[in-house]
Symmetry: C2
Subunit: 399 residues, 2 copies
């Protein structure tokens, strides 16, 4: 039997996926499992998107342009214009989700062996894309003590080597929910300019900002227009994760022309998803108002409940739909598995994501979990009660 590749052997398995069989077993036993482990929102997909499918009038569902349908890219430009970001259709390549867009960006800009600096904890799948491209992730620590704010400029400078080619941020952040301020973006701007690095930014949670705070896009940082590559998602924004429509966006023409060659090699992004995405972008702003209010209530429910538990530290993040609290536990992988295997409260339990998967530094994240608040306030209350009760009896409880 021929050997698989070294990349294949080293490709990280998701720590969440390892828990799936335990969750399945619990459910088979009739236990209610609250899924706070993934970013699959329960918010209904906008009616306009479903209607676009109901009214589909194509005779042949054809390939689209490799960069995506021009009509869809134009709609995206209108959307960005509303958010104060000026881009042309030529600045956009539509991908099968932000995932594919990120892969295009990494393949286009970085050579195997190059390094990319990412504040950790960070979205676990960045590891997968880096592995695919043969690129090395250099994590720099953000800390729960500052609510996971951007690490100070010295941390970036310490991590920079001749192999450093890019900095990647996720704003608002997955898994911490942290929203970077204008001042923090200015820090990024300076360091990117000084060392002439790429600045990759994953802004798929742009709309999800709370407490009156404002999102600042890397696309509006002056003087580094050729360095900035934005990754975005339509599917995530409109609670239609399955349509797989994301985008890579940059004003750097050489980057976009090169990325297009990777896009052409796979011919076309999904056409049905693009038709739905185009319809989605006509969704009125009021759609988000209701959703933001709902997520805010959810965040408050989670943060308030967790903050009352002895030994738990939970920042109140201003964005996305994630929090990453610190718990009084020995090992988050062990704790999350134990919740599914051995813990029941009123025949209920919770599925959480161990934060270890969001750190590149070995051993980091053992006391943290990621909670996606993608369930109703009522369910979240019950789930938080489960966490509270579980920490009273978890055998690996620490001070």
């Amino acid at each position: 039997m021929p050997k698989i590749s070294d990349k294949g052997r080293q490709m990280p398995a998701s720590p969440i996926r390892k828990l799936v069989p335990y969750a399945d077993k619990a459910k088979k036993e009739g236990v209610t499992v609250y899924h706070l482990n993934i970013g699959q929102p329960d918010i209904p997909t906008p009616e306009s998107m479903i209607r676009a499918m109901h009214e589909l009038d194509q005779v042949v569902i054809e390939y689209s342009h490799s960069a995506g349908m021009l009509s869809c890219r134009r709609k995206m430009c209108e959307y960005y214009q509303k958010h104060g970001i000026k881009v042309d259709p030529e600045d956009i390549i539509i991908g099968a989700g932000a995932s594919e867009a990120i892969l295009f960006g990494v393949m286009t800009c970085l050579n195997p062996g190059d390094e990319i600096i990412i504040p950790e904890p960070f979205y676990a799948n960045y590891n997968g894309f880096a592995m695919t491209a043969g690129v090395k992730v250099k994590p720099i620590p953000s800390s729960i003590e500052t609510g996971f704010a951007l690490p100070p400029i010295e941390e970036f400078e310490k991590a920079i080597t001749p192999a450093t080619k890019a900095i990647m941020v996720c704003n608002p952040n997955n898994p911490t929910g942290y929203l970077y301020s204008a001042e923090e973006l200015e820090v990024l701007r300076q360091i990117v300019k000084k060392y002439d690095l790429y600045l990759f930014a994953d802004e798929v949670y742009r709309e999800f900002c709370y407490d009156g705070s404002k999102h600042h896009s890397v696309m509006n940082l002056e003087g580094i227009e050729d360095n900035v590559v934005l990754f975005d998602s339509v599917s995530k924004r409109y609670s239609a994760c399955g349509i797989r429509i994301g985008a890579m966006i940059s004003r750097n023409r050489e980057v976009m022309q090169t990325a297009l060659k990777f896009a052409q090699a796979r011919l076309s992004p999904p056409s049905l998803g693009q038709i739905a995405a185009e319809a989605a972008m006509d969704t009125p702003d009021t759609y988000f108002e209701g959703i933001i209010a709902e997520y805010l209530a959810r965040r408050n429910t989670v943060v308030e409940a967790l903050s009352k538990i002895e030994g738990v530290i939970c920042p109140s993040p201003k964005g996305a739909f994630y929090v990453t609290p610190r718990l009084p536990i020995d090992d988050s992988d062990r704790y999350c598995q134990w919740l599914l295997e051995d813990f029941r409260y009123d025949n209920q339990t919770v599925m959480l994501a161990p934060a270890t998967g969001f750190y590149a530094t070995p051993g980091a994240g053992k006391k943290e979990v990621r909670i996606s608040y993608v369930l109703s306030v009522e369910k979240l209350r019950k789930a938080m009660k489960c966490i509270e009760m579980s920490l009273k009896v978890y055998p690996g409880r620490t001070a």
Copy 2:
């Protein structure tokens, strides 16, 4: 401005794409351009697929399983069963088109620097996937004199080095339409077994076989079950290229478990496409009977017309919807551009794919073009007339 990657610089641009501006210009001038350059069939997408979208009843369009919806993979198994191929849902990972599936396969099985032997001419985008994975393509020649049959076993053995990890075939072939016989597959089986290589097979045109000939799948080659990886497409088969649903299939569990990690890193294949694909697989066999008859008539139209032209050699391939004739021309890139820029017959011209893009050997394919017979017989007649007339006046005509 930061430098783009070496891969980006070396990533081949599609020779067809270079022609698009010339085709657009001709069309703007009111010229009828017959598009024989891409494999985008004009056959209507089955009604069942459109209906599945019209009847979409999801409230939230969610991520599917990273390997694809279980119901869709089960339907695929039924489909393969009908074709005499026994596979389980666990043997299947659904990708965003066969393109993504091929990338998963290459990333899973080959290390950067490893070599993959591919008879040329071959589907141009294999170059892109190899480049992405850092893998080296070693072409071995198939020849128009034998109708592009499988190269003899000695050619494979000459090309094998310690770095050789896989052989890739496309059957029926894109761009030649050649359908491999049972004997040719036996040659592949022997060499794969002898050197313990992976055998990658792209069988997306399985249904498109003519003259009563039968398709033989690599999945039924005995004794190399762990070596075989099949790439397939639902979108292509059912003339729904835009849904982007393909698959990577293997009975090698280690390969599939590893490929799943790459699939998990991008979360999910397109859900809407999977719903349409599942509906497609209920299409009755009679659907293909009509289509095969239509393609056969088209192939005959093209082959007969081309064979009558002095200096043209055109095999009559038994599969897919492509032919790659040899023309009395100096340079297929130049000829194809000239057709769009300078040649008009009755205010019509044709867009063809220069075969140079289907060869990895520098300079090869200069006298060949790929013709996709994806238009009606009537249009193909007119297009062939254009080619005939063009060869009388093309300045780079050779003997």
